[in-house]
Symmetry: C2
Subunit: 327 residues, 2 copies
């Protein structure tokens, strides 16, 4: 069995090998093989291609493989029109746990302000820091609007409810203000502007698609409370970049935690900027380099899942998490 | 009705006045009146004394009052032997919410590392920060030992369980490994050294009393995992200061979040150091100036509670949260 792993996926070869239980030929390709045809001869004939992205500038000739296993959930990096005949694509989740932890860490950082409190601590100025403490806020009793109520949104919701937050979900599956799952109220995406004025926190956890691309713009920032906080752990392009920058500059909202970006490096020599604006220079933009899902636990769970799917492919069983082709 | 408010309590006069619903004479005294007899003539004859502490160097003459309302939960600042005959003391809680939020903020800061991730973000070095991300840890699946399972400990537990943490409670009320409340297992304080090796997080939320003073020392640090994290939101003196400093210096444990201190200023001109050691100079000590419970919501809830007790005192109803004297 030939298993080709592209970019970061190649780091996890040993995790797959340990879980597979049989010998296989592994081939590691650089990150650039996601989009360049330069390595296609090496990919050709693979049983499994493990790659976060699959695009080509020219559709004339594409390599053949049986299974494209995306080692993540997002499918916006895959051009499905390139998929070889009879091939199957699968994805994998498990990131809802770390991403929900990131979202709650952001919300708590905003209320508790641990970093600033630590910076204020000095044995020689303890008395003034202690006596001059300013009361802070609490999550308890506040309202969070979760845009996109899939696995990530629901994982955020379960944790938010334990803090006494009111959870409002926005989902196309909402019906008459109701939705199955850990939320107090639910509405459809078209109702967003009616709900935004009630939210202290807005967490974006929807997929990027034709409906959501650029869907959060000037009108939405206008509808938000001026003390509200936006947390984007979906895809940057869900939010209009200029409108976001302007809303933060004008303090239309209190803060944005931004973990997802408008551009990513294609390879290690690509020094592309994450956005056209320098968000990190705004004091109310809390920028992180897409760390929300990046944990040891994530990789353990994901590559165990991928290995289980490869075992199923070998034995002719039904694959799990099929997103393209026949299971 | 004469209401005397000492130190920080005096800031909240308007909250009490708004909730009381009847006129009263309010007197604000400085923080020093907690322990100095200099203001006793002014306190004498008060219906209500609202003060976090009540101590006197000389017990010969103490002012008379009917109700001492402590505007917090901790009673270690009160010398009950000074209470006038027939007087009553009450305390107030409501801090379990912000303190649990502080504890979870600390745990998430340790796993997610938002502050460091933010510091690594720069548009010109985005590619290297993004491509060089190191996987971090998760709270999910870890174990937290909560020492003292009262209101605060249980509030931490409810939130910790939502993150998929295993919660072990240490409480004198535990019986045969079981305890009513949001925990998976429970043991008595004498079993601490058997349980410590299992804990990834240890949260101290017990009262300071003869049993707990200095009870967490070198033996306990020795029993902890080297990657474990201590969070002290109880009272500093529960932990032996030298043993704590040494454990952090020697990296016997990974980190300590310290919000409570060995000494506090008696008044605004007192520049007392919080500890004999300069903990803030240790990279693995995360020091904050007793902010864990300090929120707007806390004061709203507490002074509404105190006002309700003063209304009960006036109308001769049974007081709530009586900790000394006849209700």
């Amino acid at each position: 069995m030939k298993i080709v792993m592209v970019g970061e996926a190649a780091i996890h070869r040993d995790e797959i090998a340990a879980e597979l239980g049989f010998e296989a030929d592994y081939l590691a390709l650089p990150r650039e093989a996601h989009e360049s045809p330069e390595w296609d001869e090496q990919i050709d004939g693979a049983d499994v291609l493990v790659a976060m992205r699959f695009k080509r500038p020219n559709k004339a000739e594409v390599p053949r493989f049986r299974l494209l296993h995306v080692p993540g959930a997002g499918l916006d990096g895959i051009d499905f029109s390139l998929m070889p005949e009879g091939s199957v694509a699968c994805n994998v989740f498990e990131h809802e746990i770390p991403m929900a932890e990131y979202a709650l860490a952001s919300m708590l950082e905003h209320e508790v302000g641990l970093a600033a409190a630590r910076a204020s601590f000095d044995s020689e100025r303890f008395a003034s820091a202690y006596l001059g403490r300013k009361p802070r806020g609490e999550l308890y009793g506040k309202t969070v609007l979760i845009v996109g109520f899939g696995r990530i949104g629901q994982a955020v919701a379960v944790r938010a409810q334990a803090f006494g937050l009111k959870v409002i979900a926005l989902s196309s599956r909402a019906l008459n203000g109701q939705l199955k799952g850990p939320c107090h109220e639910a509405y459809t995406p078209s109702q967003i502007n009616e709900i935004l004025p009630r939210a202290d926190y807005v967490v974006l956890s929807c997929p990027l698609d034709d409906e959501t691309r650029g869907s959060f713009g000037a009108d939405q920032f206008q509808a938000m409370k001026d003390h509200a906080v936006l947390i984007n752990i979906a895809r940057a392009a869900v939010v209009d970049e200029d409108a976001l920058y302007q809303a933060l500059l004008d303090r239309q909202i209190a803060k944005a935690f931004l973990d997802v970006w408008y551009a990513y490096p294609a390879g290690s020599s690509d020094s592309v900027a994450p956005a056209r604006h320098r968000f990190e220079e705004l004091p109310n933009a809390f920028c992180t380099p897409h760390i929300s899902g990046w944990t040891h636990g994530l990789f353990e769970r994901r590559y165990a899942f991928i290995a289980a799917n490869i075992r199923r492919l070998k034995s002719g069983e039904k694959l799990h998490n099929v997103v393209y082709g026949e299971a």
